[in-house]
């Protein structure tokens, strides 16, 4: 993942001028795959939500309701506080990991990334105390968004030519001055990007907020879920979804404008060259203080979870893991936890397959289109990232309930929902590789007489296969941990792993919580393993989410 992320030369995208009519038809047919999939399983549900609100006074009702205004206000300020805290912790961490070599650096890098990929309900379980609390919610938000800052800002610093700092040092700037006067201003665009993402992620927080915020506080996401499943007040849920969609799209639109304007060229080098051992006293103190702090921040919560899964009032035990195969009497789970794990694996495999097929086609079309033509697809496939899984899940409830589209209770709804959520990651991972491969190799292949199809099949796809494999595994991990959309569409008699964990955590009693922590550890192990594997094989970059 150290692949330079910022393109230094303008990438020329464009079809060859000699495209045959057949190839053109083929391209259009191919474009229909992601268009139909996203149209049916993403746009249509959202349009259904909007349609159910239009012509009604419900948005006004929501904004006129003091408690719902309170929900919007709480959602906003907790996201602001979470973002500020994440930035405060993330910038030193990014600096540490980007600029210095020290023992344990590799472990910390991966651990930070793993924290980001961990399913929200696992993070919720790790931070759950005996009572819901605001502090645990904020801590959990910082924990799993640290990676966003580290990846975005850190990867920029890692590629920034050390000459900038060296010059500043020669001119007498101290370490602190070099950080505040050189590194921070230069990294401004990536910091803005990180802030936007962290704000988006915490603004649309669901699993963590549901588990940690308590019944009297709700993010908009949690409120949409409660209005649906507990109050059955679908109009209010729809209005809230619309409010959230509006805020999120406004934010995304603004950022995309700022991003274009602030893209400045800097002297970037390969990141392998820029990290070095701490030299001065100040640097040594910084590393000696920051590294252990970061280690505690990213390793303590997972370890606490493991510890709680084996600890009982009488001692240590593996019994909770051995019990995963059986149905516990009085449990909120109708099935053995092992069956939930099997369900999760099957559904996630289906979702990852769909996400890869649709995502690779979408990425290929984006990579091979003229910039303007393909960008609608790029935009469309990126939107689920910001729109929030809860909106998708709620949209399914509203959209697929009658006639030929009555898919209620069908496992395909669950598979599609997870595929929609995983899709943006696939496109983001595969598209850059396809784009650069096309640029580098296709002209040569064309010069040797290969048709565009041959070029794609024999040159581009094999080269991109590693990225595709990585994206597939990543999509699988995302689908496995997906909770927001699944909570609306998973069947009661075959819950997925995250749903089972939440169900168990909602039941009081040591047996229930114990089983939930054991399941969380299993889910954590799978996603962590997947993340480490992707990182090892350097199959792509998460830098530009």
């Amino acid at each position: 993942m150290d692949r330079p992320d910022v393109r230094l030369s303008p990438v020329s995208r464009g079809r060859s001028a000699t495209e045959s009519p057949a190839a053109r038809i083929g391209r259009i047919a191919l474009a229909a795959v992601p268009a139909v999939f996203l149209g049916l399983f993403f746009v249509y549900p959202l349009v259904s939500i909007v349609g159910s609100v239009i012509g009604d006074v419900h948005v006004g009702t929501v904004l006129g309701d003091a408690r719902l205004r309170g929900v919007i206000w709480f959602t906003t300020w907790q996201a602001v506080v979470s973002t500020v805290l994440t930035l405060a912790a993330g910038l030193p961490a990014a600096y540490l990991l980007a600029r210095f070599r020290f023992p344990g650096r590799a472990v910390l890098r991966v651990a930070t990334l793993v924290a980001f990929v961990l399913p929200t309900v696992v993070v919720g379980a790790a931070f759950a105390g005996s009572r819901p609390s605001l502090a645990s919610l904020l801590a959990a938000h910082v924990f799993f968004n640290l990676a966003v800052v580290v990846r975005l800002v850190g990867s920029f610093w890692a590629q920034l030519d050390p000459a900038y700092e060296d010059v500043a040092a020669e001119m007498g700037a101290t370490g602190v001055r070099r950080f505040t006067d050189v590194l921070l201003p230069l990294a401004r665009p990536s910091i803005v990007g990180a802030v936007t993402l962290v704000f988006l992620f915490t603004f649309t927080s669901f699993g963590v907020a549901l588990l940690l915020a308590g019944p009297s506080r709700a993010t908009i996401e949690v409120e949409i879920f409660r209005q649906t499943s507990q109050l059955l007040n679908l109009p209010v849920a729809a209005a809230l979804t619309l409010v959230q969609l509006t805020i999120v799209s406004a934010l995304l639109w603004r950022t995309s404008r700022t991003e274009t304007r602030s893209a400045v060229r800097q002297g970037l080098v390969s990141s392998a060259d820029t990290a070095r051992a701490p030299r001065t006293m100040g640097e040594r103190v910084f590393v000696a203080a920051a590294a252990p702090l970061l280690a505690v921040a990213v390793l303590a919560p997972p370890l606490r979870l493991v510890w709680r899964s084996v600890r009982t009032s009488t001692g240590l035990t593996l019994q909770r893991y051995l019990d995963l195969g059986g149905v516990r009497r009085g449990s909120a789970l109708p099935i053995a936890p092992l069956d939930a794990i099997a369900t999760s694996l099957r559904v996630a495999a289906g979702a990852a397959t769909i996400a890869i097929v649709v995502g690779v086609i979408a990425a290929w079309i984006i990579a091979s289109s003229r910039p303007r033509r393909g960008s609608w697809l790029a935009g469309l496939s990126a939107v689920p990232l910001g729109v929030s899984a809860v909106s998708v899940g709620f949209g399914y409830v509203v959209a697929f309930d009658s006639g030929a589209l009555d898919l209620r209770g069908s496992v395909w709804l669950l598979v599609s929902a997870q595929a929609v959520v995983a899709l943006p990651f696939v496109v983001r991972l595969v598209e850059p590789v396809l784009t650069s491969t096309r640029h580098d190799l296709t002209e040569q292949a064309a010069a040797l007489g290969a048709s565009p199809w041959q070029t794609t099949r024999d040159v581009v796809l094999p080269v991109a296969s590693r990225a595709i494999l990585g994206a597939a595994v990543f999509a699988f991990a995302v689908a496995l941990g997906e909770f927001g959309a699944s909570a609306f569409v998973a069947r009661l008699d075959s819950p997925t792993m995250p749903i089972s964990i939440v169900r168990l955590l909602s039941q009081p009693g040591a047996a229930s919580v114990g089983q939930a922590t054991a399941m969380s550890v299993v889910l954590m192990a799978v996603t962590a393993g997947v993340t480490v594997a992707i990182d090892r094989f350097r199959v792509g970059t998460f830098g530009r989410l």
Partner: protein
């Protein structure tokens, strides 16, 4: 190569997904297998295994019990999937939730022959969309030991909860998410009338009441009187039968119940079961409803779910006879008034308590 890999992909997806399981689909290949009937219910459902096994043996039905959260979530789920249900029979809907479920056509009417053994007082649904199965009373419960230790008198009426002496001692359930929570809200409306009940809750909030999502969390998580519980508050919204449960489940045998229900605070509730419209096994689903009214199940109900049976011939276990005090005149609101006001009351309550 392209076609083959596409085929492979499709096969993978299908293989990955078909196992995901549609519980209601019958297996035509093996007619000898018992028919699986899914009973959707709330998390508090419980039944003795021998009772279920005897039913399964006699009927050739395999009973799958699927809990769906609390009663409110259960019913909402059923309404959202009305006509295309996730199970065959639903148990655990109470009179307060009934109107909106009937309006959404969740149930397929069925008049069980077993109803002849049920007192007319419980047959609240003339359309027979649902069948009464049990009844209970939601009451304040107090931890007698806690009050004795401090020389305090436990409250004997809902109105006392706002006394400064009981500050920070009460835990209640959210009426938006919990059946006993809703029943207690209705109890306060029955007790104080409109709009005085709002003042009561305002005062209760000022008196540091704790609101939690569901009964289990309130009773086992927060109530100090629950055996094996971790709570610290000595007043909780629970059931008239909770004290007898404490005696039955006590680790050492007790002469006296450690908790008591406040009879003046009780609100009557009836729980129903119904055949879900759209079930693929209507015959078997009806047999399950009959089973829920059968003598073995009705006599099992008291000590498993701590509610009273509705059939006349069910004998109460000795513990019930000895330890429960049935409220003589429980609080109650007319069903029409509840139906007309419920949504508004819950909303007002939510604003009062969380606003």
């Amino acid at each position: 190569m392209r076609a083959r890999s596409l085929l492979l992909t499709t096969a993978l997806v299908v293989a990955a997904c078909t196992g995901g399981g549609d519980a209601a689909t019958p297996d035509p290949g093996q007619p000898a297998e018992p028919v699986a009937v899914t009973l959707l219910t709330h998390d508090s459902f419980d039944v003795s295994q021998p009772v279920v096994r005897a039913f399964e043996r006699d009927s050739g039905i395999e009973l799958r019990i699927v809990p769906a959260g609390d009663a409110g979530q259960l019913v909402n789920r059923a309404i959202l999937t009305a006509g295309n249900p996730e199970g065959d029979v639903l148990f655990g809907i109470d009179d307060n939730l009934l109107p909106k479920a009937i309006e959404a056509a969740v149930f397929e009417p069925y008049e069980s022959p077993e109803l002849s053994r049920v007192s007319d007082a419980f047959e609240l649904d003339p359309t027979h969309s649902v069948t009464p199965i049990d009844r209970g009373d939601v009451c304040l419960n107090v931890d007698l030991g806690w009050f004795a230790e401090r020389g305090l008198t436990p409250p004997d009426d809902i109105a006392s909860l706002t006394d400064a002496a009981y500050r920070g001692l009460t835990v209640v359930e959210n009426p938006a998410t919990s059946t006993p929570g809703l029943a207690f809200l209705l109890a306060t409306i029955a007790r104080f009338g409109e709009p005085a009940w709002e003042d009561f809750w305002r005062d209760l909030r000022a008196n540091d009441v704790l609101v939690v999502e569901g009964w289990e969390q309130a009773y086992f998580g927060e109530f100090s009187g629950a055996g094996g519980g971790e709570g610290e508050r000595p007043i909780v919204v629970s059931y008239a039968t909770s004290p007898v449960a404490e005696v039955v489940f006590a680790e050492e045998s007790l002469d006296e119940a450690p908790t008591a229900s406040v009879t003046e605070s009780c609100y009557r509730q009836v729980e129903f079961a119904g055949v879900l419209a759209g079930t693929e096994h209507p015959g078997e689903a009806r047999a399950v409803v009959d089973f829920l009214l059968s003598k073995p199940f009705q006599q099992d109900v008291p000590l498993r779910m701590f509610v009273f049976p509705v059939t006349d011939d069910a004998e109460l276990p000795e513990e019930f006879v000895r330890w429960t005090e049935e409220p003589v005149s429980p609080l109650v609101l007319p069903a029409e008034q509840v139906e007309a006001g419920r949504e508004r009351w819950v909303q007002t309550w939510t604003d009062l308590m969380f606003g």
